[in-house]
Amino acid sequence: MKPCNHFFPLVLTPDIQKKKDSGVGTPIKRASQEIPTLKVHSIESFGTHDGPGIRTVVFLQGCKLKCVYCHNPDAIAMQGGREYHVEELVERVLKMRPYFGENGGVTVSGGEPLLQAKALIPFFKKLKKAGIHTNIDTNGRILNHFTKELLDEYTDLVMLDIKHMTEEGYQAITGMRNKETTFNLAKHREASGKKMWLRYVLIPGITDTPELLHALGRYFKTYKTIERLELQPYHKLGVHKWKALGWEYPIPEARENTNQEIRDAVGILQHYFKRVTVN
C-alpha cells in the first residue's frame, strides 16, 4: 500500500481576511468607489430575537444617538469596527442560508444601519437577488434618497425603534432632538405599503406609564403596515460594556420589569396593535 503524503497542500484557501483581523481603528482605504464596504461591529450567525426565524445579524458600527439603555454601546462610536466588502458579507450570509428555513434571513442592526445606507443598497440588492429575506433594525432618523431606495426597493421588513412618545422623553433617552424624524420614516414606510414592526423598550417609570403606552397606540393604530409591536423589556446585560468603555451608565437606578408590568403593558397595547410580542 502506498504511504500517504498528499495532505496539507501548502496552498490553502485564499486569505481573504488576512488584512486585519485585529485592525481595530484602521479603516481600509477604498480602492475605488466600485467596491462598497460596510463598517461592521460584529456578526451573529444565530440571531433569534431580531426579526422572524433564524437570522444572520450584521451589527454595523456607528450611531449618532447615545441611548441611555443601549446594550451595544461599543457600537456607538463612528470609528472602529471592521470593514467588510459587500461581496464578502454576502458570501458569509450564503453560508448561513440553509438555516433560514421559510422565515429567516438577514437583519442589519447596529449601531445605526441607515448611516451606511449607500453601501447597504448593493448588499441588500444581492441578497434579494438570492431570494433572502432582508430586515433593518433602525431608529429611523435618516430619510433621504439612499435610505428611501434601500427601504422601498430592497428591505422586506423594517423594525423601527420608537424611543419615546414625548419630545422631552426622546431627548432624555437618546441625547438627540426631534422625535418626529422617526415618525416621518414610519409615515414613509406606511405609504410604501411594505411591512414594518415597531420595537419599544419598556423601562419601568421611564417608558411604561399607561399614558405613554396609550399615546403610542393611538399614534399608530391606523397604520396598516405594522405587523406587530415588539416590547423589549429592560435588562442590564449591557451595563458591563459601558464600564469597559470607561463610560458612566446613565440610568443606574433603572430596574428590570416585573412580569406583571410586562403583562400590563401588553394588555394596553393589544387594544391598538394586531400583534404584541415580548422579546
Binding site: C4, N5, F7, L12
Partner: protein, 754 residues
C-alpha cells in the same frame, strides 16, 4: 398485513394469500416485512396519551429502587456467585401484577452481575470497590484455569502497544471490558420465533465447505455457539412462561419477544454500548394491527411502549470506578433509532415513533434508552416539530443525518451502535476500538517522538524541530510521520483485541440474531481534532514559539498575533480540521486487520475528553496542560465566537466519508436564545436541524438548558434525579457525573445571543 403463524408455511396457496412479495417468509428478512407492512404516519402528536395506572405503579417501583441505588453510591445490589449467562438467574419482577412486559437481568431489580469473560480482574476490582469478593470457587477458577479476553489480549500485546497504552496515546481500548457495539437484530425473535432461527443457522453450518481453513473452523464454532445461545434464549423465555420458539402473535408478544432477545444479550454481555437497533416502527406494525382489530386501545399501546422503555432504563452492568472516567454516568447505550426514510421515499415515521418519544413525558426525561432521531429533510413536518419540542423539553434525544447515511451506506434498515455509528441491522457488525489522541500526536511531532510529559520515547524517526518559531510545513511533516506510526500500532492493537474477544468473549446471543459471516467495520476513533486544527492554524497564521524545559520537551507555547479558530465557519482553519481527520483516516486504510474488517473512523470522545486533557501537555493553540479537550468534533470551549450557526457550520465541514464511524457534535443552547416563544424555539430548532444536516453533517446532540439549572443541580442533586443532559453521543443523568465532569459541561459553549 400478515404474520407467520408457524415456522413452516403450511402450503403454497396459503402463503400466496397471506404474503405480499413473499421474501420475508422465505428467508430471514425483517426489512422486507417492514417494507410490506409499515404504516407511515404524517399526523400530529395529538393522539398520544399519558401513562396508565399500571405503568405509574411499576415506574414508582423503579424510581424507589433507583433512589436506593443513588443512596448506596450507585450500586443497589450485586450478585457475587453467578456467572451471568442468557439463562442464568430465576425470573425477576418489579411488580408482577402490573407488568405487561416482563423480564429482568437477574431475579432482582437493578442487581448487577459478574460477566467475567471480559476480564476477571476487572470484576474483582469492581466488587472490591463495593467491599465484596467473588465466590472463592470462581476466583480459583479464573485465576488458575480459565483464560479471559483480557488475559488473551495481554499475552499477545507487544511492548510497543503497552507503551502506547500506558502513555495515553491509545486509550479506552476494550481490552479489559466487553467491546459491545454489536447490534443483534432483536426483531427476528418476534417475527420468526427461535425455532426458525435455529433452522437457519443449522443450514448455514451445513453450507460451510471443506477444506477446513482456520477461517472456516472459526466460523463453524461461532455458529455452533450461536445455536447454543438461541437454545438458552428459549430457556430464558420459559422461565417467564413465554414460548419463544414460535413467532409473536400480537402486539404485546411482539414487544415482549423483542425485549427477551435484547435481555438475552445484556444478561451475557456488558459491552460499553449495547444498542437496541430500530424496533419502534417494526413494533408499530403489530400495534396498529391490534388496534385495527379492536384488540388494543391507544392507552394499552402506549403502556406496552412505556413498560418496554422502563425495562430498558433499568439495564445495569457491573463497572469499576475507573470506567467512569471514559464513560461517565453509568451509561448502557440502549440506542434506539427513530424515524428516517425508506429508500422508496416513504417515511419510517409511525405512530410508535411518537409513542417512544412520548415515554420521555410519561416516565420523565432519561438518558436511556439513547433515543436517536434519524433526521431527513423529507420527514413529516409534524414529526420534525414534535422531535424539536421533545429535545427542547427534555434534552434527552440526539439527531443523526438519515439522508447522508442512507445514501452513503446504502441501507434503509440500520441502527446506531453506541452514539454515532451506522450499522446495517442483521447484516453488519463493528469492532469497537475507542480512540487515539491526536493532540498528543502533534506534541510527539514537536518533541522528536517523545511523550511531552514523561519524556519517554514513543515514536522513532521524528527529526528535531528547528529553533525559533514553529514552521508550519516542518510541523506538518513531523505530524504525519508520527500519526502514521500511531495508525500502525493502533491497527495492530485492534486486531489483537478483536481476535481475543472473538475467542474468549464471543457475543453468541447477539451474533445468533445477525446473518452468519456479516461484514465488519473496524471502528477507530480520534480525540483532539479541534486542538490540532487550532494549533496548526496558530502555527500558520500567527507566530508560535515553543518553550522547552532542560530536557528539551515543550512545556508551553508563546503565541504572537491572532489566528483563526475552528468553530467560526472560517475556511482557513476549518480546512485544517477537515484535513486532520481525512489524513488520519487515510493512514488507517493502509494496514490490514483481523477478519479483513474495513477501517472506519469516528470523531467522538464520550466523556473521555476530560481525561485526555489531563494526560496531554500544553498545546500550540494556547490550551494549557491538563485542560479538557472539547468533546467529539466540537470547537474548543469559548472559541466559537460568531454564534451557533457558524459553530455548526465548522463541524459540518468534516466529511462523513472521512469518518464513516461518525462525527459527534454537542450543541448546547439556553432556551431564551433559541427563540422568544415556545413556538419560535420549536420552529428555530427545526430550521437548525434542517440547515445543519443539509450540509452533510452527521450528528448533533441538542441541549436546551440554562447554566443556572446545572449549577443548582450540582449543589442540590437530590432535587434533580432525572435531569438529563446530552454529552458526546449519549445522554447522562447530570447528577451522576463527577464534579470535574460537571464543571466541564458547564464551561462548554452554551450559545447565548443577547
Amino acid at each position: 398485513m400478515k404474520f407467520i403463524n408457524s415456522v413452516e408455511p403450511k402450503s403454497k396457496t396459503v402463503v400466496k394469500e397471506k404474503i405480499k412479495n413473499g421474501v420475508w417468509t422465505k428467508e430471514i428478512n425483517v426489512r422486507d416485512f417492514i417494507l410490506e407492512n409499515i404504516r407511515p404516519y404524517h399526523g400530529t402528536a395529538d393522539f398520544l396519551v399519558g401513562p396508565t395506572q399500571r405503568t405509574k405503579t411499576v415506574w414508582e417501583g423503579c424510581k424507589t429502587a433507583m433512589q436506593e441505588e443513588r443512596e448506596r453510591n450507585g450500586v443497589r445490589a450485586v450478585d457475587t456467585k453467578t456467572i451471568s449467562t442468557v439463562s442464568a438467574f430465576e425470573p425477576g419482577y418489579i411488580d408482577k401484577d402490573n407488568e405487561v412486559i416482563v423480564g429482568l437481568q437477574t431475579d432482582e431489580l437493578l442487581k448487577r452481575t459478574m460477566k467475567p469473560f471480559g476480564g476477571f480482574q476487572v470484576v474483582q476490582k469492581a466488587l472490591a470497590e463495593q467491599g465484596l469478593e467473588p465466590e472463592p470457587a470462581l476466583t480459583e477458577l479464573f485465576s488458575k484455569h480459565v483464560k479471559t479476553h483480557n488475559d488473551g489480549v495481554f499475552s499477545a500485546y507487544t511492548p510497543e502497544i503497552k507503551k502506547y497504552r500506558s502513555l495515553g496515546i491509545l486509550t479506552g481500548l476494550p481490552d479489559n471490558y466487553a467491546r459491545g457495539r454489536l447490534i443483534g437484530d432483536y426483531r427476528r425473535v418476534a417475527l420468526y420465533g427461535i425455532s426458525f432461527l435455529i433452522q437457519g443457522k443449522l443450514k448455514d453450518l451445513e453450507a460451510f465447505e471443506t477444506p477446513m481453513t482456520e477461517e472456516t473452523i472459526r466460523l463453524r464454532e461461532e455458529v455452533a455457539d450461536q445455536i447454543t445461545a438461541l437454545k438458552e434464549m428459549i430457556v430464558l423465555g420459559e422461565k417467564y412462561g413465554l414460548d419463544l420458539n414460535r413467532p409473536a402473535r400480537n402486539a404485546q408478544e411482539a414487544v415482549q419477544w423483542t425485549y427477551m432477545a435484547y435481555l438475552a444479550a445484556v444478561k451475557e454481555q456488558d459491552g460499553a454500548a449495547m444498542s437496541l437497533g430500530n424496533v419502534s416502527s417494526f413494533l408499530d406494525i403489530f400495534i396498529e394491527k391490534d388496534i385495527e382489530d379492536g384488540l388494543l386501545t391507544e392507552w394499552e399501546a402506549q403502556e406496552l411502549i412505556d413498560q418496554f422503555v422502563m425495562k430498558l432504563r433499568v439495564v445495569r452492568h457491573l463497572r469499576m470506578e475507573a470506567y467512569n472516567e471514559i464513560f461517565a454516568g453509568d451509561p448502557t447505550w440502549v440506542t434506539e433509532v427513530i424515524g428516517g426514510m425508506l429508500n422508496d421515499g416513504r417515511t419510517k415515521v409511525t405512530k410508535t415513533s411518537f409513542r417512544f418519544l412520548n415515554t420521555l413525558y410519561n416516565l420523565g426525561p432519561s438518558p436511556e434508552p439513547n433515543l436517536t432521531v434519524l433526521w431527513s429533510q423529507h420527514l413529516p413536518q409534524n414529526f420534525k416539530e414534535y422531535c424539536a419540542k421533545v429535545a427542547i423539553d427534555t434534552s434527552s434525544i440526539q439527531f443523526e443525518n438519515d439522508d447522508l447515511m442512507r445514501t452513503l451506506r446504502g441501507s434503509d434498515d440500520y441502527g446506531i451502535a453506541c452514539c454515532v455509528s451506522h450499522q446495517d441491522l442483521g447484516k453488519s457488525i463493528q469492532f469497537f476500538g475507542a480512540r487515539t489522541n491526536l493532540a498528543k500526536t502533534l506534541l510527539l511531532a514537536l518533541n522528536e517522538g517523545r511523550c511531552e510529559i514523561t519524556g519517554k520515547q514513543v515514536v522513532d524517526g521524528i527529526p528535531p524541530i528547528e529553533e525559533g518559531y514553529l514552521d508550519f510545513d516542518e510541523v506538518v511533516k513531523n505530524y504525519q510521520k508520527a500519526s502514521r506510526e500511531i495508525a500502525r500500532v493502533y491497527s495492530d492493537t485492534m486486531s489483537i483485541i478483536h481476535y481475543m474477544h472473538d475467542k474468549y468473549y464471543y457475543e453468541r446471543a447477539q451474533m445468533a440474531l445477525i446473518d452468519t459471516n456479516p461484514s465488519i467495520d473496524m471502528a477507530y476513533g480520534v480525540a483532539g481534532v479541534s486542538i490540532v486544527a487550532d494549533s496548526l492554524s496558530a502555527i500558520k497564521y500567527a507566530k508560535v514559539l515553543p518553550i522547552r524545559n532542560e530536557e528539551g520537551l515543550t512545556i508551553d507555547f508563546k503565541i504572537e498575533g491572532e489566528f483563526p479558530k475552528y468553530g467560526n465557519d472560517d475556511e482557513r482553519v476549518d480546512d485544517l480540521a477537515t484535513k486532520v481527520v481525512a489524513d488520519f483516516n487515510t493512514q488507517l486504510q493502509q494496514f490490514p486487520v483481523y477478519k479483513k474488517a474495513r477501517p472506519t473512523l469516528s470523531v467522538l470522545t464520550i466523556t473521555s475528553n476530560v481525561v485526555y486533557g489531563k494526560k496531554t501537555g500544553a498545546t500550540p493553540d494556547g490550551r494549557a496542560m491538563g485542560i479538557p479537550f472539547a468533546p467529539g468534533a466540537n470547537p474548543m470551549h469559548g472559541r466559537d465566537t460568531n454564534g451557533a450557526i457558524a459553530s455548526l457550520n465548522s463541524v459540518a465541514k468534516i466529511r462523513y466519508t472521512d469518518a464513516l464511524d461518525g462525527i459527534s457534535n454537542t450543541f448546547s443552547i439556553v432556551p431564551k436564545s433559541l427563540g422568544a416563544t415556545d413556538n419560535d424555539r420549536m420552529a428555530n430548532l427545526v430550521s437548525i436541524l434542517n440547515g445543519y444536516f443539509e450540509q452533510q453533517a452527521q450528528h448533533v446532540n441538542i441541549n436546551v438548558l440554562n447554566k443556572e439549572t446545572l449549577m443548582d443541580a450540582m449543589e442540590h442533586p437530590e432535587e434533580y434525579p432525572q435531569l438529563t443532559i446530552r454529552v458526546s453521543g449519549y445522554a447522562v443523568n447530570f447528577t451522576k457525573l463527577t464534579r470535574e465532569q460537571q464543571q466541564e459541561v458547564i464551561t462548554r459553549s452554551f450559545h447565548e445571543t443577547m
